[in-house]
Structure formats: C-alpha cells, structure tokens
C-alpha cells in the first residue's frame, strides 16, 4: 500500500508526458461520452416522462434494465459493429478513441435517460397543470423541466460519469489498449496488474480516484451555487 501511494505521488508530481496523455485520454473519452449522453439522454428522458404512448412501460423497464448492461457486452457489441467485418466497419474507427467514446456512450446513455425520466416525471406531476395553463408544451416544457431539475440531473450525469470512468471492459475491447493512443487509466491499471506491477496499478487507481473526486467536487460546488434557487 505504501508503494502504491508512493507510485501515485510519483505519477502526479513527475508529470510524465505519457502519464498525462493517459489521464487526458481518460477524461476526454469519458467526458465526451457523458456530454453526448447528456445531449441525447436529457431531452429523451424528459420526453419519456411527459409522453404517454403504447409500450411506454416496457420501454421504461428496458431502459432501466440497460443501466445494468455489462461493459464487456457493450464493448463486444461495439467491437462487432465497428470491426471491418461488421456493419460499421467502413468507418475504420475500431481501436481508436472514437470507438471508446461510442462504447462508453452506450453505457452512460441508459443511466442518463432512466434517471432523467424519473426526475422529470416527478416534476411533471407538479408542474404539468401550470405549464399546460401557460400553454407551454413540447420542447419548451421539456426545457423547463430540465432546467428546474438541474440539481438532480447534475447528479444523474455524475452517475453516468462514474460508470464510464470506472469501466475497463468496453474500452479495453474496442480501444485495444494501444500504448500512447488508446490507453486509459483503467486499461493501464489492468495492464500493470497483468504485468504484476501491483504498486503502479494501485498508484494509477489512486490517481483515478482523486480525479473522480475532483470532478465530483466541482459539480458539488456548482450545485451549491444553484441550490438557493431550487428549494
């Protein structure tokens, strides 16, 4: 354990270019996946909360279930799709950061949709009559729900970020863990573990944890700022 903390400090203080590249790629891939999931999932989740249509219940259950999709399965599906032998092989993005973003988006999107749906549905029960009275429907009503739900939705995005930042199975499969190109914090941890360098692996783990903690602190700070308006 001492060795691990020493390694963690060495990594952080050393500011080694390769290490910074790994940290940067991890953040880039994960935050891109969260941003894409937010852009798609927030409106979709709110839409699912507001709309009534046949099969809605089944859809909600499916989305909720997909929150538990194993990262390896997501990775495998993306792998098969993006492989040159697969339907999207012409893109030629297997073993690139883009493929990793796609895989992580598949993992994060159900979380964003499902949790947004829950938040928006509770708010809709309260806001529905007022918005209908104002004649606010469709996109405008959804943006009211999302804006007023921003505190809970920030936590939703954090949950998505947590899932993406922590997973190794999907990015390993579709990224290939290529040194200097698709190696992230988690795949580097897996690699160092397999090389038996447990101290370095744990050191990377500590850095990843610190990074996740910092992002949570930033979001917590932001939600504090909003909080006085939201009670």
């Amino acid at each position: 354990m001492d060795g691990a903390f020493a390694q963690a400090f060495k990594l952080i203080l050393g500011l080694d270019a390769e290490f910074l590249g790994i940290v940067g790629l991890s953040l880039w891939v994960t935050l891109s996946a969260v941003a894409i999931s937010a852009a798609i999932g927030l409106p979709l989740g709110a839409l699912l909360a507001v709309c009534r249509f046949p099969g809605r219940g089944a859809l909600i259950v499916s989305v909720n279930a997909l929150m538990g999709l194993p990262p390896v399965v997501a990775g495998l599906l993306v792998y098969l799709a993006l492989s040159r032998a697969g339907p999207a092989g012409f893109l030629g993005i297997l073993f690139t950061p883009a493929a990793m973003i796609v895989a992580q988006t598949i993992l994060v999107l159900p979380i964003v949709i499902a949790l947004t749906r829950q938040v928006a549905e509770d708010m809709w029960a309260e806001y529905g009559d007022h918005l209908a009275s104002l004649g606010q429907t469709g996109r405008a009503a959804i943006s009211t729900l999302l804006y007023d739900g921003r505190l809970a939705l920030a936590v939703t995005l954090l949950a998505g970020f947590g899932r993406a930042a922590a997973e190794v199975g999907a990015v390993m499969i579709v990224g290939g863990n290529i040194a200097g190109y698709t190696r992230t914090m988690t795949t580097a941890i897996a690699l160092e573990t397999s090389k038996g360098d447990l101290a370095l692996a744990l050191g990377l783990g500590i850095v990843l944890l610190a990074l996740t903690l910092s992002i949570n602190m930033i979001v917590f700070g932001a939600t504090r700022l909003w909080h006085h308006q939201l009670r």
Partner: protein, 242 residues
C-alpha cells in the same frame, strides 16, 4: 377599460364531464362578462375546481361547449385567460424568474419580459421578494406571487381555485386587496371559495354548486341574503346536506 378586443363574455353551455363512467360535472351553464367577479361556492366535491379547469381548457368536457366572444381564447396569438391553482406551482427559481418564465411561456416578446416581470411584482408590492427563491416563500407569499404571475400575462379573465383556503386572516386580506386591484384594471375574476364572507365582500355574482351542477346563481348580495333553493339555503346556513 381596454382598447383591445376582449375574449369576454365567456359562455359555457351544458358542460358535462365524466371520468371512469362517473359524471362529475352534470350540465353546468355559466356566463361571465367583462370585468365581472364571480364566486363559485359549494362544498368539497361539488364540481367547482373541475368547472374552473374546464373553463380554462385544462380538461376537455365530455359534452357541452365553452365559447369565447372572439371565437377563440387567444388574441394576437396569446391566450387571454390564466389560472391560479389551489396549491400554487412554484418553479425552482427566484420569484421574479417565475414571472419571467410565465411571460416567456405565454409568448411575450423577449425584450419586454424583464420589465414586465418587475412591473408585475411592483404592482402588488412584491418587489422585495423578487430575488428570493420562490419555494421558500410563505404560503401567503406564494399565493400572492402566483396571482401576480398570472396577472402579468394580462388576461381578460383570471380563474382562481380556492385562493385563500389555507391562509390566515391577514394573508387573506392581502389577497383580497389584490382582487380589488385586478378588478380595478378590468380583469374578470372567477374563483372558488368556501368562505361565504369573502364571496359577499368581493364577488358581483355567485354560483352555488351542488353535486356537479349549479343549484343557484345570481347577484351576490341577493343570493347570499335570500337563497331560493333548499340546497343553497342549507349551504349558506352552514348546514351541509351533501
């Protein structure tokens, strides 16, 4: 009072509303003229709230019609009636942002919104609450904000469901003072209440509800002083037969 076409008078004929086979509103006829103030009286479950919702267009009657003088409830693309709910819906924003949101949603020009919102609060003496989060205001303040927010939309008619039901006497007086201001600028009011004294103080006309119908309707002073039907007499006497 105003130099623009009014959607009033409003006339509702034979409103019926059924839910799961149960008839909740059973043939309501009601007319409201420009600048009129009408109190809907009656016990819980007699159909006051539902009637307000049908008039405001939140629910669609099973049969019957709600007719506006202009043929539509909109003038120049803007809905000319507003509603304040029994439990006012406060968005998770500041008081003034609540008003701004309503103005934006109702389609007021963006450039005018800030000014109009400030004016709406100032008009009812709520300017000090402007920057406070709406959801931490007291019950009375929330009701006043909700009325100011609805009034900001410049409706010809304002529907209010039990605007003072949960309030203490001082808050009730403040709300009634707002009624006076709304009447002064020519906004017609239709509100439900259990408070016969309030109906007497504020309303020009009253409609007394019983079992989804209007059992008696007419000038407030007349009806409240000398109800003609047994049901109305019993309600006014506080002897509730329903």
């Amino acid at each position: 009072m105003r130099d623009r076409p009014s959607i009033l008078p409003l006339a509702a004929y034979g409103l019926r509303f059924e839910m799961a086979g149960i008839r909740l509103i059973d043939g309501v006829d009601l007319a409201v003229g420009s600048g009129e103030c009408v109190a809907l009286l009656g016990p819980n479950g007699s159909g006051k709230t539902l009637t307000l919702r049908l008039l405001h267009g939140l629910d669609v009657p099973t049969s019957g019609t709600v007719r506006w003088a202009t043929g539509s409830d909109k003038v120049a693309g803007r809905k000319r009636h507003a509603m304040v709910f029994q439990k006012p819906v406060m968005l998770r924003r500041t008081a003034i942002a609540n008003v701004r949101h309503a103005l934006d949603a109702a389609g007021f020009p963006r450039a005018e919104i800030t000014e109009r919102a400030a004016a709406a609060l100032a008009r009812f003496g709520l300017q000090d609450l402007a920057a406070r989060p709406a959801r931490v205001l007291s019950g009375g303040e929330q009701h006043r904000l909700a009325i100011a927010r609805a009034a900001a939309l410049e409706p010809d008619i304002l529907f209010m469901d039990e605007p003072t039901a949960a309030l203490d006497p001082s808050a009730t007086r403040q709300i009634e003072a707002m009624f006076a201001e709304l009447k002064r600028v020519g906004i017609a009011l239709v509100f439900s209440t259990h408070d016969i004294g309030q109906a007497r103080r504020v309303a020009d006309r009253v409609a007394i509800f019983g079992k989804g119908r209007i059992v008696e309707e007419g000038p407030a002073e007349e009806i409240l002083a000398a109800p003609q039907t047994g049901e109305a007499r019993a309600f006014i006497a506080g002897d509730l037969p329903w």
